[in-house]
């Protein structure tokens, strides 16, 4: 009998129950609480197969205490029983008919090995091993417990039985702490010690999930016929739940431990130098479009540094696969799910260099850093309200003249109407959108009279290609309608994504 309360040495007289006269203040309190419980109810519950800690939970008036954690079940039992040795000692192999072994610190692990712990700290040590297997770095954690629903039914049944026998007793009227919350109370402090971490509602969650071993581990809950009988009995005014309604439980629950870290975010700006790289992973009919994606080129480098499960890419706007992103770059966020560690700024700088020095030079990154909850505000800044700047190479059907350059440059805050472009009409609403071209600037290209370089600054959401070629007349005015001839766009680059003051 693992008896936590015997001191190693001391001047105290041992009593027959293993209690010492001075000694541990906590266990003394528990002992006194145990002795104060309604002995009839205690005896009934113990013989039914309810475990010691559940007895405390259901019969005690005082709040369920973490002190119970350090007293072993067998010691508790001896304190609860009035000293008669005849009270049937709990068959070692049976579990509590209410909590199915949860509060007895008994469970099966993934390999179906049965594990017992005598006290909270031993249980905490086992849980700590399982947590460490997941590999997270953390200094604080939140604890979540989930137990099978039948435990609640078991408890209802047992309480009903108690009400049948001890209806008017005051201790029965008080609110009983649930098995879930009771477990948390018992193991939180030992876990804090064993993990070496604080507890708070933090970004790192440890979830203890108990699940039924099999359908037979029902515990105290009634069969359907009994439930129907009980309901009709209640209607008739008679309530009774006999001792025979409860079956023994032999199989404890299976415990699995899962750890989850809330997503962490990294921000930066990206450049896209290739006309064959999409912004996000783009697959049609099992075939990839383009040779790579910005999302993957950046995400696949950050994910391993975080030892995360997966990542999501968010960008402030987007550009087509054949449009380069130059100038000051486009703001983006990488969100990493369930990271095991947070890379240092040094590692992030190294990742940035690795991407920028890569042989193919498809994509570039700058200002890569860890970012906290202000990340979404930063993203919103780059979105709808902001202006975007582009450079396009334009061809027209007749030679470019000086008056063309003047007429284009003189247009300020030009309002255009764009019907949903044909190339996206299959997936967007057919609407007419009004947009503004803030300014334009033309540069001739040497040796070519039909081509020119067009710089333009437009409202966010403007379709530039359609503004140049007119989209069958569905964007008006267009470059072609302004110059009075057919116009085509040869290439497009984004040269600036304005972000306020950054």
């Amino acid at each position: 009998m693992a008896d936590e309360t015997k001191p190693a040495s001391g001047d105290s007289a041992g009593l027959s129950n293993g209690l010492v006269s001075h000694g541990d203040h906590k266990s003394r309190r528990v002992y006194q609480a145990a002795r104060s419980l309604h002995s009839g109810a205690v005896k009934d519950l113990l013989s039914l197969g309810v475990c010691e800690r559940c007895v405390f939970r259901l019969v005690s008036v005082e709040a369920f205490d973490s002190d119970l954690s350090s007293v072993s079940a067998s010691t508790l039992r001896s304190w609860l029983e009035s000293g008669d040795e005849e009270a049937a000692s709990s068959e070692e192999s049976s579990c509590c008919i209410v909590c199915l072994g949860v509060l007895q610190f008994v469970f099966s692990d993934a390999k179906q090995t049965l594990l017992r712990s005598e006290c909270g700290s031993d249980y905490a040590a086992r849980v700590t091993d399982l947590v460490k297997q997941e590999g997270h770095e953390f200094d604080s954690f939140g604890l979540e417990v989930s137990v099978p629903a039948t435990i609640l039914e078991n408890e209802r049944a047992v309480l009903l039985y108690l009400k049948g026998k001890y209806n008017s007793e005051s201790w029965l009227q008080s609110e009983k702490i649930s098995v879930k919350d009771a477990l948390k109370v018992l193991v939180l402090d030992p876990l804090k010690v064993s993990l070496g971490a604080k507890s708070d509602s933090s970004s790192f969650q440890i979830r203890l999930t108990y699940s039924k071993a099999s359908d037979e581990a029902q515990g105290a809950s009634e069969t359907t016929r009994e439930r129907k009988k009980r309901k009709t009995d209640e209607e008739n005014g008679s309530t009774s739940m006999s001792e025979n309604s409860f079956e023994k439980v032999y199989e404890p629950c299976i415990l699995s431990v899962h750890c989850n870290k809330m997503p962490i975010f990294f921000s930066g700006r990206y450049f896209k130098y290739s006309r064959n790289v999409s912004q996000t992973r783009w697959i049609i009919d099992d075939e990839r479009m383009g040779e790579a994606s910005v999302e993957e080129l950046i995400g696949e480098n950050i994910l391993p540094a975080c030892l995360g499960d997966s990542y999501k890419f968010h960008a402030a706007g987007r550009e087509d696969i054949d449009v380069r992103m130059l100038g000051s770059g486009r703001p983006f966020l990488i969100e990493v799910q369930n990271s095991r560690k947070c890379p240092s700024q040094q590692s992030l700088t190294e990742i940035e260099e690795k991407i920028n020095k890569s042989e193919k030079k498809l994509v570039g990154v700058k200002d890569l850093k860890f970012i906290g909850s202000q990340c979404w505000a930063m993203m919103r800044e780059g979105e709808a309200e902001k202006q975007k700047q582009y450079a396009a190479i334009v061809w027209i059907a007749r030679p470019v003249e000086e008056k063309d350059i003047d007429s284009i440059s003189s247009l300020k805050e030009l309002k255009i109407l764009q019907k949903t472009p044909v190339r996206v009409l299959h997936r967007r609403s057919p609407l007419e959108r009004e947009r503004t071209i803030h300014w334009m600037k033309v540069e001739k290209i040497k040796g070519s009279s039909h081509y020119f370089l067009l710089h333009l600054c437009t409202q966010a959401g403007t379709y530039i290609k359609e503004f140049v070629h007119g989209d069958l007349g569905r964007t008006t005015p267009s470059m072609g309608s302004i110059l009075g001839c057919r116009a085509e766009i040869i290439q497009l680059d984004v040269t600036d994504v304005k972000m306020g003051d950054s």
Binding site: L425, S429, E443
Partner: protein, 228 residues
């Protein structure tokens, strides 16, 4: 090979002025009077300019049009009646732009097309209101459903969908500007946009001919100077 690396802006004083003057109108630049910073931003601009022109390669005299690049052209000739030739430009996303092919007999009439009326069949096609991503309220059409009637001085001709699908849009600009049909039937003078289901398109495609086949079939008409 066209000179692509050097935009010779400085040789064109007016051009340079044009750039300088628009630069001053940009509010951010006005605030920085420091010489150093101006030099630096000029340097960055030059870098950017080089980059912008870095990979255009050869600039052809006449590049392919947006339609040629983004659509596959199909034709149907003599649809329900001789001389009723139409084009179907199919985009990679499945949408089909329908219009009059250059050999349509309406163009032969003196004065060309003078009027267009979308009120044919059971409803006026120009008042349909398609909304939302799912294209609610789009009229479901068969290939021989009438789209509109075009009239010339002599005669009028029915234009049909040629493609089974949902009618997303008709070009209502044609009502006020029917001459677009005469000047650019293959672009601004398009008639309608239809969205066929993939299965319907596969079947439909069999009755259409390619651009090459069309040119061959109609070569005698197409070689007349007033067309193509």
């Amino acid at each position: 090979m066209e000179e692509t690396q050097n935009i010779d802006v400085t040789k064109n004083p007016e051009g340079e002025d044009a750039i300088e003057s628009t630069k001053q109108k940009q509010p951010e630049e006005v605030e920085h009077h420091c010489d150093e910073q101006q030099k630096q931003s000029q340097c960055e601009e030059d870098e950017l300019r080089k980059l912008l022109l870095s990979d255009i390669g050869e600039l052809p005299l006449s590049p392919p049009s947006a339609i040629q690049v983004n659509f596959v052209s199909y034709f149907i000739t003599g649809f329900t009646k001789p001389g009723h030739d139409q084009y179907i430009y199919r985009h990679a996303n499945g949408l089909c732009v329908i219009g009059l092919a250059p050999t349509h007999i309406a163009f032969k009439d003196q004065g060309g097309i003078t009027n267009i009326d979308f009120n044919v069949g059971k409803s006026d096609r120009s008042v349909l209101k398609v909304s939302g991503k799912r294209k609610k309220n789009a009229m479901r059409s068969e290939s021989n459903t009438a789209l509109c009637k075009v009239s010339t001085a002599n005669d009028s001709y029915i234009v049909r969908c040629c493609v089974k699908g949902s009618l997303l849009e008709v070009n209502e600009r044609l009502i006020k500007q029917p001459q677009l049909l005469n000047s650019s039937a293959d672009r601004e003078g398009y008639i309608a946009i239809i969205m066929p289901r993939p299965a319907d398109w596969t079947k439909n495609k069999e009755s259409l001919i390619t651009l090459e086949e069309y040119k061959e079939k109609k070569q005698d008409i197409l070689l007349e100077p007033c067309l193509l």
